[in-house]
């Protein structure tokens, strides 16, 4: 049973070839509004490729992807971000030489629309001419709010590449939230975290989902996170669909166990 009936993201028979390599083969699933949907599978199964397809970094070889009913096919990555889909990266792609504050502030840019003219004038007047001052203040306020939410405010002036690993991941999430997304794609957000940090992250993800009324699509290997947080999961192996359902169903599925642990283990569990 789904929390909501609105389908936020729909993949229909999506496939992606790279020359002779079939990275993703006939994958279809729907993510419903307000869900936390997990994308799991062994390494190299094609999960990040799907993220890249959804965010427009790769072009589709076959099938279609739609967001709230409209196709994403002809859109460029920055337009897709504008539509409301943002993401984090498996290898963390922060703006390394910028501070935490600047990383998030930069991403807030879509909340402002002042042009070069207003930038040069910088008048503190109400109305069109004074857009710069008013909008910049709003962007700064939002940046502070997001940083405080993610527990990064004391680190606001620290250069991103100097942040501890766990905080870098959180910063990437903060940056992704700055774009007012409706769908947030998290690529292995708990990688390299200890169990306590993972717990904290789980609460944070649910918190963000509720506070910003988002839908979340998450790639993860940490089973506690998946079990604890996801409403539904989709299991991939070698680019092909393997199973779909609730996390409990996935856990007990023989094929899934086999894919992760090998045939003998699967029989042992059966």
């Amino acid at each position: 049973m789904h929390k909501s009936d609105t389908v936020v993201l729909s993949l229909q028979h999506v496939s992606k070839h790279f020359g002779g390599l079939m990275a993703v083969d006939d994958v279809s699933f729907n993510v419903h509004e307000g869900e936390i949907y997990g994308l799991i599978g062994p390494n190299g199964a094609g999960k990040t490729t799907i993220f890249n397809l959804v965010t427009g970094i790769y072009g589709l070889t076959g099938g279609s992807i739609s967001f709230y009913g409209s196709s994403l096919a002809s859109l460029k990555p920055y337009q897709i971000a504008g539509e409301g889909i943002t993401r984090t990266f498996q290898n963390i792609r922060l703006f390394k030489k910028l501070t935490s504050y600047e990383n998030v502030l930069t991403a807030c840019h879509r909340d402002a629309d002042y042009g070069v003219f207003q930038t040069l004038l910088r008048l503190r007047v109400p109305g069109k001419l004074g857009k710069f001052a008013a909008q910049e203040a709003a962007l700064k306020e939002k940046t502070e709010e997001l940083l405080r939410l993610m527990g990064l405010w004391e680190y606001r002036d620290m250069v991103a590449s100097n942040l501890p690993y766990g905080l870098q991941r959180k910063l990437e999430i903060a940056r992704a939230l700055a774009l007012n997304p409706k769908l947030l794609l998290l690529d292995e957000p708990a990688a390299g975290m200890n169990p306590e940090e993972t717990q904290q992250l789980m609460r944070l993800i649910c918190d963000i989902r509720d506070r910003f009324s988002l839908t979340v699509l998450i790639i993860e290997h940490h089973m506690d996170l998946i079990m604890g947080v996801c409403d539904h999961v989709f299991v991939l192996n070698f680019g092909k669909p393997l199973a779909e359902g609730t996390p409990e169903q996935g856990q007990n599925n023989e094929h899934v166990i086999e894919a992760y642990l090998g045939k003998e283990e699967a029989h042992a569990h059966a």
Binding site: F18, T48, F51, N52, I57, Y58, G59, Q90, R93
Partner: protein, 292 residues
């Protein structure tokens, strides 16, 4: 008709020099994904090495020829070790490589000007002056030599790349450098080899150019043409670099002969704009998608 055929030969010889240059540049590009703008410096030094080997050292031509190749190859390797390797070990952004390459190129050009001097030098006469008569055509001996050297050099290079273990490593690295490291390929070895090969060919290109025209410190500027040739043929593709170079050489020569010699340099840029607008991946290249 004979004029046309003669210009064709001229174009081919020019194109073969461009090919020797473009191939070295393309090799580095295909593996390291950056444009080695210091390539011109190696070409220029090659020209000078050959020249001084023959004049100052009095070596016979064939020996000077070998010394030139070795010297240029050595310079290329030194460049890699001293300029690019430190950047690689710091995982420097792509921009830094271009900037350093530019620095190296300026350094080489100007140290030659400051020490040896900017005067033009002429190679001592190597071949008999009269052209070879074939049918009604008068083909310059130097042109024949240039084409032969280029063809030999490129064949040798192709052999190395297609048939040897190192060549296999190079080909693997050009597809995916990370994966090939996982397969046991020694990246440093691969890079060493491509710079060596590219450098040797560049040295010969410089020497040939110097023999046909003159030797001067700004010879490195003709690398611009070889970059354009590489883009024309398809950045990262070796056969493309060769094809692009030959075609560019022909186009340039024919333009100079039939339209105006003033426009000969300009035609290269027209070609460049054409390629970028119509098919940026060039004649034989493929635009790859970036992995996230």
């Amino acid at each position: 008709m004979t004029v046309f055929l003669q210009q064709l030969i001229n174009g081919l010889s020019l194109g073969s020099v461009y090919a020797l240059m473009a191939v070295g540049y393309s090799l580095v590009y295909s593996i390291m994904n950056f444009s080695n703008f210091a390539h011109g410096g190696v070409i220029m030094v090659g020209a000078y090495i050959g020249y001084f080997a023959m004049t100052a050292l009095g070596l016979p031509f064939w020996l000077a020829f070998i010394v030139c190749g070795l010297g240029a190859g050595l310079l290329a390797i030194l460049l890699e070790r001293l300029v690019y390797f430190p950047l690689r070990s710091r995982s420097a952004p792509f921009l830094y490589y271009i900037i350093s390459a530019m620095g190296a190129s300026i350094f080489l050009e100007n140290i030659v000007i400051a020490t040896i001097g900017p005067t033009f030098r002429t190679y001592p006469q190597v071949f008999a002056t009269g052209p070879i008569q074939v049918g009604g055509l008068a083909i310059g001996r130097i042109d024949v030599f240039m084409i032969i050297v280029a063809v030999a050099g490129l064949l040798l290079l192709t052999l190395i790349i297609e048939k040897t273990k190192v060549g296999l490593a190079i080909r693997a690295s050009s597809y995916n450098i990370k994966a090939s490291t996982l397969m046991g390929v020694n990246v440093n070895m691969v890079i060493f080899t491509i710079f060596l090969l590219g450098g040797v060919l560049a040295g010969y290109a410089g020497m040939l150019f110097g023999m046909k025209y003159t030797v001067y410190p700004q010879i490195g500027n003709i690398t611009t043409k070889s970059f354009i040739a590489a883009v024309f043929g398809g950045l990262g593709s070796l056969p493309g670099a060769i094809v692009g170079s030959v075609l560019l050489g022909l186009l340039e020569t024919l333009t100079a002969a039939y339209i105006s010699s003033n426009l000969r340099d300009l035609i290269a840029f027209v070609v460049l704009i054409g390629v970028l607008v119509i098919k940026p991946s060039g004649l034989m290249g493929k635009l790859a998608e970036e992995k996230a």
